[in-house]
Amino acid sequence: MNLMAEILIQVVIAFLAGSLLLGLHRKVMARVQKRPGPPIVQQLIHSLKFFFKETAFPKTVSKVFYIGIVFILALIWVVGVIVGPVAKDSLLILFGVYAVYKIVEHNSGSSSGSPYGKLSCVRAVLSAATELPLFASIVFVYLVTGTMNIGEIITYQSVHGPLIFSIPLAALMFFMLIITKSPYSPFAITKDKVLISGFETEHFGFLRGFMLFSEAIAWYVLLWVFLTIFFGPLNAVGYLVGMIVISFVTGFINATTPLLSPNHSVMTQITIGAICFAGTALMIFTGVVA
């Protein structure tokens, strides 16, 4: 298939699937909390609606960054789709994509001049602590498979079996990142409701539409990468079931856990990351993992 066509198709799939999965996530949270909750398609409708809403620009904004940052946000997750599902290229590039995402989160809050965005921006600096477990997880995948290339990692797993069985603690570290990224997560300190909508507070109209578009794609890409590097070669049905299960599990976790304070959030993530890091290193260097 033509490369451009494949990229376009994969981006559309990522947006539609990501939006529906986030809708499912909201539905699960609502049902756990004994609320009817919105329809599963609500997230998708919500995202599309914003593209047709009137856009307002607060007079305090740094306009170039305020507008530019949402396009960069959308662009980096499109790069995530290209590197992941389309090209199955290096995991390190996806690590870079996640690093840019943290910067975008930080800057969209700060560029508005709003104190809510500003505090969300400060918290985004603290929440960069999730980078360390993500990095450790990727390194352990490399140590076991000998490659950073996603395509080669899939090939390795088709011969040796899924990595979830050989390095489960590394998978847990990556799963912690997924929980962090999920809406209403105990670690979602940048979108704490005391900060209204955090870094998104001052973005309206089509700018918010781009943000929701990016969130849907980000959710799809993160789930795709997790399933691909830890659950071996999967077909379309495998991916679909895996993504639904993970959205269901994270929805349940988020519905039953309170939001942590910024310091506790960072401490918890670092502690879980350190335990999983030590455990996986021990398993690899004592020969438990071949």
């Binding site: 870079g96 930080h106 800057n107 500003k118 360390l132």
Partner: protein
């Protein structure tokens, strides 16, 4: 480990005497993002920071003067270019130089703020950065002494001796401190808490340079150690 295994297919190299820059999809992505943000910094004006005035009903608005903006934007652009250089360099010593330059520029960018809390944080960060320049350069020197080269392409083909591992760990400590990321990030986060603290045009490059240098450092350490 080689460049291709880590960053994807080698797209090309640029040889400047014994300094070799190399381009893979990974390094190109980081380089392009940094240059893109640097252009945005060059074009942007700062936001107006707003916060509630204590004991009154009105808001406090903090605006930035043109002269101060020009000076600090210049430093931010240089920082962006230095960080972009660190993304594509194929030489360990060049990387440490770029890293040290980024550290100095970060301190320079925030030290012009006339707020005690911001200056305190900048001072703490400055102390950490200065102390960490020793393990940063020391680590690179140990690797040079142990292998006889600073070229990443050559180092990636060599087995890692205990001295190389020691040098790499020293470098990692130096990079963590110079870039001010975990576990040193608290002093950086404190710099931006209040209205009147550094604004978007300059804080974007402080964080972007730190995070990207850590991402690049991961690649370099994997090249040297495995």
């Amino acid at each position: 480990m080689d460049f291709v295994t880590l960053g994807g297919n080698l797209l090309g190299t640029i040889q400047l005497g014994d300094i070799v820059l190399y381009l893979t999809p990974f390094s190109l992505f980081l380089f392009a993002v940094l240059l893109g943000f640097t252009v945005l910094i060059g074009l942007s004006k700062p936001e107006t920071q707003v916060e509630a005035t204590m004991h009154y009903l009105n808001n406090t608005e903090v605006k930035v003067g043109q002269k101060e903006l020009k000076q600090r934007r210049f430093l931010a652009v240089i920082c962006g270019i230095a960080s972009a250089g660190a993304m594509i360099t194929g030489d360990l010593f060049n990387f440490t130089l770029f890293m040290a330059l980024v550290g100095i520029l970060n301190i320079g960018i925030v030290s012009a703020v006339k707020q005690t809390s911001v200056l305190n944080s900048a001072f703490n960060y400055g102390l950490i950065a200065m102390m960490c320049s020793l393990p940063l350069f020391g680590g690179a020197a140990i690797i040079l002494a142990a292998t006889g080269t600073l070229s990443l392409a050559v180092l990636s083909q060599m087995p890692a001796s205990p001295m190389v591992v020691f040098g790499a760990v020293m470098m990692l400590i130096g990079i963590l401190g110079e870039s001010g990321v975990a576990p040193f990030f608290a002093s950086k986060a404190e710099m931006f808490r209040t209205a009147g603290s550094p604004y978007i045009v300059i804080i974007v490059i402080i964080h972007l340079s730190s995070l990207f240098i850590i991402v690049r450092a991961v690649e370099i350490l994997l090249l040297v150690l495995w």
